[in-house]
Amino acid sequence: MNAISRPWNRLTLAGKVILPLLFLLAAMTLLLLVGVALGPIPYLADLAYDTVVANLGIVRFVGSVTAILLFTVPTAFIIIYLEMKVIALMNMRLGPNRVGPWGTLQSTVHGFKVLGKEDFTPTGADVPVFTLAPAVVYLAVVMAFLVLPFAPGLVGADMNIGLLYFFAVGSLGVVGLMMAGWSSFNKYSLLGGLRAAAQIVSYEIPLTLAVVGVVLLAGTFSLNSIVLEQNGSFLDWYAFRQPLGFLIFFIAAAAEGARTPFDLTEADSEIVAGPMTEYSGMRYGFFYFAEYVNVFLLSALTVVLFLGGWNAPFDLGGLLAQVGLTVDPTLAPGQLGIGLLFGVALVPPIVILAIALPIWAFRSDVAFWKALVIGFLLFNVLAVGALMLWATASFEAVEGLIWFFAKTYVFVVVFVWMRATLPRVRVDQLMGFAWKWLLPAALVNLFVTAAAIVVVTQIQG
């Protein structure tokens, strides 16, 4: 006993994790070999394949849910970094500049830091509710992604009630905030939770009413169809036919996402951090993830509804195709034979050396290995750039994705810009603004749109 336990005790924590995993890996490899040799593995694989084919709908759903869950994490990281850096530049500071190039890995490090923190539950908290609240907030945001059309054919589920689903699921987040505020046993949390409920429920109304104009024009609730309706030149985007609706929607979206100047739910100078006051560790991280993913989500919805989604303002893919960047459909890589091997094996080192040698030769302070690293990185950038150009020219989905993200991040930056510039409104001003100004304006927008549609259809015939 002692002979085993002593070396085990000498291992570090990482060792204690890795060593059993190594044994497990060895055992599984052995099992796999035996299984393939004796037959059950191919049989099971066939069975699994048949099951997948038989339940393609479910598999597609699970696949898209997984993809979206995985997609939210880098999105949140990017937006957190963007916010830190952009606000810093607007404040005339440097912002994050230590971790990674230009501090780009700062939000990743923040993520790991949050993961490593103690998960603390305060005395007197309602433990099950307190534990569930971050999950509810996060899932509400993530589930709303399901109906968002990213590119032609790239949509989680093209529901015919997509927009209704979006608002229904998206506003579930307020339930989580209420749960957090109520269960934390903290008066600041309570105030924050109630503020969140009042604010988000109030702004839901102008938000949805502003969208009804778009729905009337498009004649559908499906987000994918709304994007397809805006096909053509950029003058067909609904922002030009619904300018008032666009404005109302954007303002209400800022309030819905609890962004400055409507960030009353987490007003740090008043109620410390609102519903998140008592949270620590990754639970707190979930709230933040949800917030930043929500920023992306609302920007994306603005783009989908009013700015043509993945529709291009001008035909970039066609332009690139004319230059000759499309793939030749007759060309199969296998035809190149040994040339393919030489190309893959020789082109990268040659290009890397071609970049590295001048740097090494003309910059005396750069060591050769550093020049090689720089060359490698630059080559990668070039290769990815070339690949992206080629993909943009060849595939409609890639081009759509690029336009979609470009437009969305414009709005994300606008949200960040607002945060850097504006102070916070007061709670009574917030409510007054929603009910006295936004709601009547949204109703006017709705009536004018409906009347215009009736008149136009009468005239046409």
Binding site: I87, D268, S269, T421, P423, R424, D428
Partner: protein, 408 residues
């Protein structure tokens, strides 16, 4: 109503208390029976009311002020400021230290503008010693003080915006403050607590680095402060949140012993620099900006006006700066005549005064410090009830208290 405590008063650290009442120790209610009528009334809650602890650790209380808010929903019904978390007994410490050491002890009182809090005891000691301060030293004092006033005001305007949720103005305020702090560091060797004033003069003469930094800064100062404030001056949200908020009328202002910008924002042109002139201010030309409204927005704008006046003063001081010694000749150990002295100056927060008594020994017999932050802060109790929780911050920030001076 004074009720005798029936049981022994339990400390909050008492482990038994934690066991008996596991959750309520976080309440704002003090763990002893009410000591005064006011306390009994305040801590008795009606239906729907709630006590919230604002501080001593809270993002927007500017130090360690604790305010117990009695709120009904979001509306503040009443509030009870609890002071003393930063009490160090400076006045008592001063009684046990040499006259020269008094300067360093008074230094951190108004730590945002410590030139002022060290100037006052120095002036009181000079009155007791009947010493004439050289004119160059007086001019240097005015120069340093006005610079410090600008840095303090620039920071105030950022703070107010920060408490209203604006992230950027505070950093623009810090741009000015950084430059001024670097300047004063070149002059005094310190960045926050300068220890620059000496009884009978100042610690060091103007040097090249200070003057070159000052020249650089003066070239663009006024314009840049005004530019950076355009971010919030006419911002609709900012104006709507501060206009008509925390209005003080003249009678209340005088009754509550307000001074400095909060007083001048009500229209009373009281400025110690003109009302009870000291140093070389009678020789300098400047206006006392006032506003009529008396609300938070007026207080904010007044700070901007005062910055312009301060820049004007610095301009004149640099033109009129005489040559000569920077300290009076004094013995190393000071033994002022027995007697009393009163010195008052206009600090960025108002009427800052020291009343000193000497018994002829080398230590002050009594040193009473009148800090304007304390008197400005006491209006919070009048202004806040009826407003929302968010407005409490705006009102407190617009009064600009420095807790170092309030708690002493």
């Amino acid at each position: 109503m004074t009720t005798e405590p029936k049981t022994r008063i339990r400390s909050l650290d008492d482990p038994l208390l934690m066991v008996d009442t596991p959750a309520t120790i976080y309440d704002a209610i003090p763990p002893y029976p009410p000591r005064t009528e006011r306390e009994a009334e305040f801590y008795a809650l009606r239906e729907g009311e709630m006590l919230v602890n604002l501080g001593p650790q809270h993002p927007s209380t500017h130090g360690v002020l604790r305010v117990v808010l009695k709120i009904d929903g979001e509306r503040v019904v009443d509030l009870d400021p609890v002071l003393g978390y930063l009490h160090r007994g400076v006045e008592k410490i001063c009684e046990n230290s040499d006259w020269h050491m008094v300067v360093s002890h008074c230094d951190p009182l108004e730590y945002i503008a410590s030139m002022f809090s060290e100037l006052v005891p120095v002036m009181a000691a000079e009155q007791l010693l009947d010493v004439r301060v050289p004119r160059r030293a007086e001019y240097i004092r005015v120069l340093a003080c006005e610079l410090n006033r600008i840095s303090s005001h620039a920071l105030f305007m950022g703070w107010l915006a920060l408490d209203l949720g604006g992230l950027t103005p505070i950093l623009y305020g810090f741009i000015e403050r950084d430059e001024i702090v670097e300047m004063l560091a070149a002059l005094t060797g310190q960045k926050l607590l300068f220890n620059y004033m000496r009884i009978g003069g100042v610690n060091g003469d103007l040097n090249h680095e200070f003057l070159s930094r000052l020249g650089d800064w003066m070239a663009h100062a006024g314009q840049r402060i005004e530019d950076s404030q355009t971010l919030i001056n006419e911002n609709e949200i900012f104006v709507k949140r501060t206009k008509g908020l925390g209005v003080v009328d003249r009678e209340t202002a005088l009754r509550m012993c307000l001074s400095g910008p909060p007083l001048r924002a009500t229209g009373i042109p009281y400025d110690v620099r003109r009302a009870h002139p000291y140093s070389v201010y009678p020789e300098l030309e400047f206006e006392i900006p006032t506003r009529e409204e008396g609300d938070s927005y007026a207080r904010y704008l007044l700070h901007l006006d005062e910055i312009k006046q301060s820049i004007h003063i610095i301009d004149q001081v640099l033109h009129k700066m005489p040559d000569g010694p920077i300290t009076a000749k004094l013995p190393r150990l000071l033994r002022p005549r027995p007697g009393r002295a009163f010195a008052a100056i206009e600090s960025p927060r108002g009427h800052y005064a020291v009343y000193a008594m000497s018994d002829g020994s080398d230590q002050p017999f009594r040193l009473r410090i009148h800090d304007p932050s304390y008197f400005n802060l006491q209006t919070v109790g009048l202004l806040t009830p009826g407003h929302l929780v968010a407005d409490t911050m705006a009102i407190m920030a617009s009064l600009d208290p420095i807790m170092g001076g309030v708690d002493k």
